[in-house]
């Protein structure tokens, strides 16, 4: 696989991000689907336990840190991001020396309901206040009452955060952050969309590796300049017809969170068989942040964050996947049934039936390498490629 130069930059950027966290006067631990723009506007440094979990998974220490939580009574059936994050708190360290102690916690259940209990646990351990932004699940259609419910909570959150930090939210600053968020999301989306080219200049593994800035730094200039540069590199590849893998014969779409401790293994497995995972549903989930300029910022944010990828019904999910299948012109879908992420893995067998191309389901976990069974995964994937 041809590595993107930008990955080096990503490493530097994220190292800087984690270092800054250690010095931040005020920080909040936040879930990946929460409106981080509100934190940036208050100069509250956002800490992402989920990103930290992914990082631990990539260092293949997921099982090790999960055991610290398991020893304290947390079930092995719980999400491994939650387990290894709580495990690191008990261990008092992590591959990056642990996360800075939070000033307050901000959980939004538009990605799952585990985060509510997870953050309650953190709140008890650290004895810091927690704000839960409760999102109604959008089974079929988004209604005004949903939006009003969420919007009101955004105002509640602002009062909460202002009280805890003793700062005042500046409307102009919030608008500025939101515009930056939109700009970085647009650039990021353009990067992902270059994978529609044949051959694709990037794989979903490139997307996974380089998604940290859109999660942790959207709303800042860092994310904008990062994705601008990434876009340039990808455009160059497209212009020169450079393929991400040696020989692209089969194009595939990945569904669910990656298997962090096996990224390289999966990458090589598919490349060896001339198959390119050009895109995925996970990184594409961050490409929808669009608030129209004339709109009230908070009501715009309420809408965008309510209809997040994991907060919608199965019909809508299947529709989104089918759109990605068309956009990236893939021959098949590889679905990771992720033992950790129940909302993401729920319904995959039903969704399969609604897809316009063949798909295969493999069982694994995003961080807990103890549940990975290589022989079983290999047989399913090889058989699927033989079938295609």
């Amino acid at each position: 696989m041809k590595r993107l130069r930008i990955s080096e930059k990503m490493r530097e950027l994220m190292t800087g991000y984690y270092m800054a966290g250690m010095q931040a006067e005020c920080n909040a631990w936040i879930t990946s689907g929460a409106p981080v723009e509100l934190l940036h506007a208050l100069d509250v440094y956002p800490v992402y336990p989920e990103n930290h979990g992914a990082l631990i998974g990539a260092t293949k220490l997921g099982g090790y840190y999960c055991e610290f939580a398991e020893k304290n009574g947390f079930s092995r059936d719980l999400c491994s991001y939650a387990r290894c994050d709580i495990g690191c708190v008990f261990a008092g360290t992590s591959p990056i020396g642990g996360l800075p102690k939070p000033t307050f916690l901000f959980a939004c259940n538009n990605i799952c309901n585990t985060v509510v209990k997870w953050y309650e646990v953190l709140s008890r351990i650290f004895k810091v206040p927690l704000f839960v932004l409760d999102m109604p699940f959008i089974r079929k259609e988004l209604k005004d009452c949903h939006l009003r419910y969420v919007e009101e909570q955004l105002y509640d959150f602002i009062s909460f955060a202002e009280r805890v930090t003793d700062r005042k939210l500046d409307d102009a600053k919030l608008r500025d952050v939101v515009l930056k968020s939109m700009e970085s999301v647009e650039l990021y989306s353009e990067c992902l969309r270059t994978a529609a080219n044949k051959p694709s200049p990037m794989t979903c593994f490139d997307a996974f590796v380089n998604m940290a800035p859109i999660v942790c730094l959207r709303g800042t200039d860092h994310a904008i300049s990062f994705y601008k540069e990434m876009k340039q590199e990808l455009d160059e590849r497209v212009k020169e017809g450079v393929s991400a893998i040696e020989r692209e014969e089969i194009r595939l779409l990945w569904d669910n969170i990656p298997v962090w401790y096996r990224l390289k293994w999966f990458g090589e497995f598919f490349e060896k068989r001339n198959a390119c995972l050009v895109a995925d549903t996970y990184t594409n989930a961050w490409s929808g942040f669009k608030v129209s300029r004339g709109e009230d910022v908070l009501s715009g944010m309420a809408e965008v964050y309510t209809v997040s990828y994991l907060n919608i019904g199965m019909e809508m999910t299947a529709e989104i996947i089918n759109k990605l299948i068309d956009l990236y012109d893939v021959d098949g879908v590889v679905m990771h049934s992720n033992r950790s992420c129940k909302p993401y893995s729920f319904g995959q067998y039903e969704i399969q039936k609604k897809l316009s191309v063949p798909s295969v389901i493999i069982e694994a976990d995003m961080v807990d390498e103890r549940v990975f069974s290589e022989a079983q995964v290999v047989t399913r994937l090889e058989a699927f490629l033989e079938m295609l």
Binding site: Y349, E363, A375, Q376, T379, R380, E382, A383, E386, M387
Partner: protein, 254 residues
């Protein structure tokens, strides 16, 4: 052309020698811890059985979970494609292949020997041959006797646990409460059939349904599957060699 298909499964190894469309002979052996040795031995044994030498063989295809350990194979193909090819070679109008092996089971939708879709068991021994082995051991039965005993049952006792370990506990508690062995083992066979049919429904069941793999020899499981489907299934004369045979068949084309 003469081709050889070798299927290294989790419990048994199978080897088939095929000349064009004629099966010259086959062998089935227990897998040894060293898979390479297992493969070499079964190849030598089968070739000597049919009176051929290694040089007579045009192509060797390996399949099964141990396929990648068969270094001397010209090609390695997954057991999904091979079982489909093997079953369709034996039963040309097959629409669904249900293979119940030692540690995995699969349902494959096929058309003219080609795989349309497939589904395999989760990473769990329920619904596999190993499940029956464990239960047979708990009941002090020989694996060969399970099927014939199951069909003598007057009722099927319910085995509700999907986990092999917990199901064994259920079996033991039935024994201690004085239930008849045939009724317990019939329940075991039905539990497997239940798992398999649930899986088959995911890919959709199209006739004819062909049952392959070692467990297809178990009359109790076959009957239980038929009862749940509501129509008869076809078991080839030697269902256990379908994967190896399919490998040899695909070797003719490759």
């Amino acid at each position: 052309m003469i081709t050889v298909g070798i299927d290294i499964g989790s419990i048994t190894a199978k080897c088939v020698v095929l000349e064009d469309t004629r099966i010259l002979g086959y062998k089935i052996s227990r897998v040894k811890p060293n898979l390479e040795v297992t493969a070499k031995e079964i190849l030598a044994e089968t070739l000597s059985f049919v009176g051929l030498k290694r040089e007579d063989v045009g192509r060797i295809v390996a399949t099964g979970y141990g396929r990648n350990m068969v270094d001397f194979a010209d090609k390695k193909i997954t057991e999904i494609s091979c079982h489909a090819a093997g079953a369709c070679f034996l039963i040309s109008n097959a629409g669904t292949v249900i293979d119940i092996g030692g540690q995995d089971s699969k349902v494959i939708a096929v058309e003219n020997g080609k795989v349309l879709d497939f589904v395999m068991n989760d990473k769990c021994a329920a619904g596999t041959g190993r499940f029956i082995e464990v239960m047979a051991a708990a009941l002090n039965l020989r694996i060969e006797d399970v099927g014939s005993l199951a069909v003598k049952a007057t009722k099927k006792l319910k085995i509700s646990s999907t986990c092999t370990v917990f199901a064994e506990t259920e079996v033991v508690s039935y024994i201690s409460s004085g239930e008849k062995v045939e009724n317990i083992i019939a329940g075991v066979c039905d539990a497997i059939a239940g798992r398999i049919i649930a899986m088959a429904n995911r890919v959709g069941i199209r006739r004819e349904v062909v049952l392959t793999g070692g467990v297809a020899k178990n009359l109790g499981v076959k009957r239980a599957i038929e009862e749940r489907l509501g129509f008869p299934v076809i078991v080839p004369e030697e269902p256990q060699i379908a994967g190896a045979l399919g490998a040899a068949v695909l070797g003719q084309k490759a």
